[in-house]
Symmetry: C2
Subunit: 324 residues, 2 copies
């Protein structure tokens, strides 16, 4: 219980260790998460997504300052799928932490897992709970723009901010990954570049022809200045923070916040069931050598995956009474 | 058994019905797939991926002709994740079928599932088995370019062809989705456009700086002409078919084909285990109303997903003896 109190009090060392255990998928992380869960569900979770090179990290840093100037506390997660071509999580953390290092109202952490994409998705959900339990008002989740993940962020975020940049073929990319459907707020970053008007126009056209949303919310488009011009950039970040808060108010007023909260719960119970039911069976098959035997049989076409999986199910699942 | 003989003989109606059952996730599809599996593992499976608008479909049609002129039979799957913004599977099928409709050596089908991305991944693997059992020499799998899926195609394909187009920001996109790592052959489509040389140069530079592959295979870059100029386009498709065959020979000679076959089997047994172990539990939780009860408890923070999932595991999984 002491640990939970420390987390609720925002103790950085305790939280950092817990997140590290989460990344390493240690069982003790789960026992802490069980105790944390009742203290969650209060933060406004914001997903920040877009292509690499769209300037999301700088934008996130400045957006944090905008929220801080409204006296809101902020937790931030930078999600970094481990790849031989990236691996920049640690460096990125250092740079980010530096800027807000002396502000106790800000907690920033990168999240990476060495395992499957599914493992990362679960870690993100769990890490959000931790920051939520810390009492952060705002939780900002920055994801690197790989298609699937961009779409999955909607499972965790109440408000999804999509960052686009002129002249990067973003118009096409936006439609491509289904981003049009998930964006609640658009940001045109580096809006002093050629092509910003064109991108703005294309976005408006797409919003015009998109099927009207049930909710009646039309995603606003925020044009962000050049980060090297702090004055104009800061003003656009204040604007962005305001649009994000307006979206949250809209969610509360239309009761769509409840829908999003319920969707998040559904995703989480599904992930937890996978971890509690499928993963122990896989672990047992691997450690007993049964998995290797199956792979060998399949390679030589001596059996088929469907029959083998049914055999495994009979071995591990209890007999269920017939459904009436 | 009669059905299996029909499939092996390439009976289009039987195969079409089976694929439809697969898409609808009917249990009878699985019983047929069990009988089919021993007759699989002979085809050369080629993944064809790239952004929407890269001209993959036209290219696939012409590539089919190139393989046919070498007397190879071809099965093709166009993977179409169902989305409110696409839904063009049926129309696409009609257009594609028309061209090769009278050629018994070609079988073309779109694949869509209404369920999750996971469901589609499984359906693709299973549909490949069906075309394989039909005795097709080449199986071409065209995927719409959403990040995650592009990367997953490598689980099923022996050779991955990545189609790029000048001037679409493909250079950035290519790095983004991890495509650089999975491509065995690059195609620059619409290579008569401005920017083809630039794209070609960027690709070569990226290949130069990428960590040398274990296998010693450097992905060749094929420049495809304009589809409206049939002569040059046909020549480039012959070139592409030849590069694809060269890659297959390389896989055989370096014994990396075995690695790819084993990876495919590993993915398939994992998917089959999920279908046999996790999905029946989920179905039971939903039909019994237990899922709704859990969601309600979680929404009111009366329990946490980890504890609830462990309870479910105790209810459904047999007690396992302690590991020694």
């Amino acid at each position: 219980m002491d640990k939970i109190e420390k987390i609720k009090a925002g103790d950085v060392r305790t939280v950092s260790r817990l997140i590290r255990n989460l990344e390493d998928q240690l069982p003790e992380a789960t026992s802490t998460l069980k105790l944390i869960f009742p203290h969650t569900g209060k933060a406004h979770v914001i997903g920040l997504t877009g292509s690499p090179g769209a300037g999301k990290s700088t934008l996130a840093d400045m957006l944090i300052s905008a929220f801080r100037s409204k006296n809101l506390t902020v937790g931030m997660l930078a999600v970094d799928p481990t790849s031989p071509f990236t691996g920049g999580a640690i460096l990125g953390d250092r740079i980010r932490l530096q800027r807000h290092a002396e502000d106790a109202g800000v907690f920033v952490r990168s999240l990476a897992t060495r395992g499957a994409v599914g493992g990362l998705a679960r870690a993100v959900g769990d890490a959000i709970h931790i920051l939520d339990a810390m009492g952060k008002d705002i939780i900002l989740v920055e994801t690197v723009g790989t298609g699937q993940q961009e779409v999955e962020i909607i499972n965790h975020a109440h408000t999804v901010v999509v960052v686009l940049v002129p002249g990067m073929g973003d118009d096409i990319q936006a439609m491509k990954a289904g981003i049009m459907e998930i964006a609640d707020v658009f940001v045109i970053n580096k809006a002093d570049r050629d092509g910003a008007d064109k991108l703005d126009h294309e976005l408006r056209t797409m919003l015009d022809i998109a099927p009207a949303r049930q909710s009646g919310w039309r995603p606003p488009i925020v044009r962000a200045g050049n980060a090297f011009n702090p004055e104009t950039f800061r003003a656009s970040m204040d604007d962005l923070a305001q649009q994000i808060e307006a979206h949250y108010k809209h969610l509360v007023q239309t009761e769509r916040l409840v829908d999003r909260q319920r969707r998040k719960i559904l995703v989480e119970i599904n992930e937890a069931l996978r971890a509690s039911i499928l993963e122990p069976v896989l672990a047992d098959l691997i450690s007993s050598g049964a998995m290797d035997d199956m792979l060998e049989k399949l390679y030589h076409r001596q059996s088929d995956p469907y029959t083998l999986a049914e055999d495994v199910a009979r071995k591990y699942l209890k007999d269920r009474p017939e459904k009436g």
